[in-house]
Amino acid sequence: MPGDALRERAVDQLRAELGDALIDTLVKPGDDVWVRVRADAWHEAGIALRDAVGLDYFCFLSAIDWMPSPFGRGEDDPTQPQAERDMTIRQGYTGGETRFQLFARACSTTLHFGVTIKADIGDDMTMPTWIPCYTGANWHEREAHEMFGINFAGHPDLRNMYLPSGFEGHPMRKDFPLLARMVKPWPGIVDVEPLPGEPADSPDADGGES
C-alpha cells in the first residue's frame, strides 16, 4: 500500500538521523505512525522531522500523564469506603518507562502524512525546547509547562498560558483533583428540600443513569 511505504520511509529517514536514540516505532499501515525517541534526543528529533523527513507543518505539542487517576472517574460515593484502585502505570503505543511522556505531532503538507513523536520525561521534568525546530511550539510548551509542570530548557518566556500567574499545582496531572467531582461526584445526589410545613421527605440518593 502506498501509505505504508511512505511511513516506513519516514521511519527509516528518522533512524538514519537519530541512530539508536530512536527507541521504538509503530506504523499502522495507511493510518498513522508513532515513534519514541530518547529524552536527550528530543531536539535532534525535531530537527530531523523538519529537515530529513520534510514535515514542514507543526501540529501540536503536549504531554500525557500515564498514572491512572487516584480519584477514579469522580463517581465514588463519599460516604462509602473507597475501593482499591489499580495504580499500575501502563504506557500506550511505542511503550515508555516514565510516568510523564512528552508527545508532539508534525505533518507534511506535500506528502500528506504526519508523525506522532513521543519521549519519556525524566524525574527532573526538564526537556529541551522545540522552538528552534518549530517556532509555533512556543505557546504549546507554555501550556504543557503550566498543565504538567514540565520545564523547557531554552524557552525564552516560560510563563502561564491560561492560569493566573500565582496558580499552585499542575491541573492536568492525574493527582490534581477535579474539584467539581470532589464536591459532587457523578451522578450526583439530589437534595430535596421539603416544602414549608410538610414533613421532611427522604432524600433521593440516585440521580439517574449516567
Binding site: G3, F58, C59, F60, I64, S69, T109, H112, G114, G136
Partner: protein, 390 residues
C-alpha cells in the same frame, strides 16, 4: 541620493543628525494599551496588550485564558457520549464540526465505520456548520472595519442555516447529534429541498458581500498588504485552514487525507491566494463559503439510502489504544488525540484547536502595525475564544 554632490550629502547627514538629536530630546514614553478583555472587537474575552509608540505597535502580546474551561481535564471523567456533548462548545459557531473528529477517533479505536448514509449526512452537517460559522465572519468583518450594514445581512442569512440545523438535529448552536457509529436520527421530511433553496440564498448572500464589502475601495485599502504572513512562517506556527491557504499553501484536509467522511465522493475546489495579507484571508473564506454551498448541493444529489447508525453495543467501551483524527474545521485544523484504556470514557484527550495556533502568530505579526490595523489583522485571522482557550 546618488546624484547629490558632496555638499548636499553633508547637508543631508547633518539634518539627519539634527533630527536624531531632536528625537532623543523629545523621547516620549510609549503607551501601553489593553485591547480587551471586554471590547467590541475581540470575539470573546481575549486581551491583547500593546505597547504603542504614537499609533504604531511596538510590542503586542495576546493574553488568552479568560475562558479556559479545562476541557482536557473534564474529558477524563466523562464517558464517550458525554464528551461529545461537551466538545460541541469549543468552537460554538460551527459546533457540529467539533464533534466529528472526536467521534471519528473513537470509531477508529473501536474499528467501526458509520454507514454511508450517516457519513454523507455528517459531511452535509459539517459543511452547513462551516457556512454558519464563516458567514458570521463575513458580516463581522464589516463591523470591525466600520461598515455596519453587512453584519445584519449575515445574521439574516445565517438564520436559514441555523433553522436547517435545528430541524435536523434539534439544536441551533449545539446540535449534539453525532454518535459513535452514526447519527442520532435521520433527516426530517422535506429537509433536502429546504436545504437546496437555502444554499441558493447563501450564494446570493456571498455575492452581496462580495459586492458590498470586498468591492469597496476603502475595504481594499484597509486590508491589502496588511498583516502579510509568509508561507514558511505560517507553516512553522501551525496556521491552518483559510489562514494557511491564503499564504499560498495548497493544503486542505478534506482533500488530502483519507477519512470516514464523504468529501472524497464530491469534486470541489480548494481556494488559495498567494499574497498572505488580510485581504487574502478574507477572500479565501468568502470563496470557501460559496464552495461549501456547492459541496452541500452535490452531496444532497448523491445521498445514499440506508441506516444511519451502525450496530454498536448499548454500553460503549472503547478498546485500548491511541488515535489521532483531525478535520478541516471552519476555523482551521481541529484534531483530537484520544488515548483509551478500555474504559467507558477516554484516558486522555488532547484537543488540538485551530485558533490556538492561529493566534500564537500574533506577537510576531503585530510588530510595527498601526492600531486600526491590529483590529483588521485580528478580524482577518478569525478566532473564536472557545477555540483558543478550550
Amino acid at each position: 541620493m546618488t546624484m547629490l554632490g558632496d555638499r548636499q550629502r553633508l547637508a543631508y547627514i547633518a539634518s539627519q543628525a539634527a533630527d536624531a538629536r531632536l528625537n532623543v530630546e523629545l523621547e516620549t514614553e510609549g503607551m501601553t494599551l489593553n485591547i480587551g478583555p471586554q471590547h467590541p472587537a475581540t470575539h470573546g474575552t481575549l486581551r491583547i496588550i500593546c505597547r504603542l509608540d504614537g499609533e504604531q505597535v511596538v510590542w503586542a502580546e495576546p493574553s488568552a485564558g479568560y475562558m479556559h474551561r479545562g476541557y482536557e481535564k473534564l474529558t477524563e471523567v466523562r464517558t464517550f457520549p458525554q464528551v461529545t456533548s461537551l466538545v460541541n462548545r469549543i468552537d460554538w459557531l460551527g459546533s457540529f464540526a467539533n464533534e466529528v473528529p472526536f467521534i471519528l477517533a473513537a470509531e477508529k479505536l473501536m474499528d467501526i465505520e458509520a454507514p454511508p448514509r450517516a457519513q454523507h449526512i455528517r459531511t452535509i452537517l459539517f459543511e452547513l456548520s462551516r457556512i454558519a460559522n464563516v458567514s458570521l465572519f463575513l458580516g463581522d468583518l464589516g463591523v470591525q472595519l466600520g461598515a455596519i450594514t453587512p453584519v445584519f445581512m449575515a445574521f439574516r442569512d445565517r438564520e436559514y442555516v441555523l433553522n436547517l440545523i435545528e430541524s435536523a438535529t434539534g439544536g441551533r448552536f449545539h446540535p449534539n447529534f453525532d454518535r459513535i457509529g452514526g447519527l442520532k436520527d435521520d433527516l426530517p421530511k422535506g429537509w433536502i429541498e429546504e436545504t437546496r433553496s437555502v444554499m441558493r440564498k447563501l450564494r446570493t448572500f456571498c455575492d452581496e458581500i462580495d459586492d458590498l464589502l470586498f468591492g469597496n475601495e476603502i475595504f481594499q485599502s484597509r486590508t491589502r498588504g496588511i498583516g502579510v504572513i509568509p508561507k514558511d512562517v505560517a507553516l512553522q506556527y501551525g496556521l491552518s485552514g483559510p489562514n494557511l491557504r491564503a499564504s499560498g499553501v495548497d493544503y486542505d484536509l478534506r482533500r488530502d487525507q483519507k477519512i470516514a467522511m464523504a468529501w472524497d465522493k464530491v469534486d470541489f475546489k480548494v481556494w488559495t491566494h498567494p499574497d498572505g495579507d488580510s485581504f487574502a484571508r478574507c477572500w479565501v473564506r468568502l470563496q470557501e463559503t460559496r464552495e461549501a454551498t456547492l459541496i452541500v448541493e452535490k452531496l444532497l444529489d448523491t445521498l445514499p439510502a440506508g441506516p444511519v447508525m451502525a450496530k454498536v453495543p448499548r454500553i460503549i467501551k472503547v478498546p485500548e489504544g491511541e488515535a489521532w483524527v483531525s478535520t478541516e474545521n471552519p476555523l482551521g485544523e481541529m484534531g483530537y488525540y484520544v488515548v483509551s484504556k478500555g474504559d467507558m470514557g477516554p484516558f486522555r484527550v488532547k484537543i488540538r484547536s485551530a485558533s490556538f495556533n492561529n493566534i500564537s502568530i500574533v506577537p510576531w505579526l503585530l510588530r510595527g502595525v498601526y492600531v486600526p490595523d491590529v483590529i483588521t489583522i485580528l478580524a482577518s485571522l478569525y478566532f473564536i475564544l472557545g477555540d483558543i482557550d478550550r
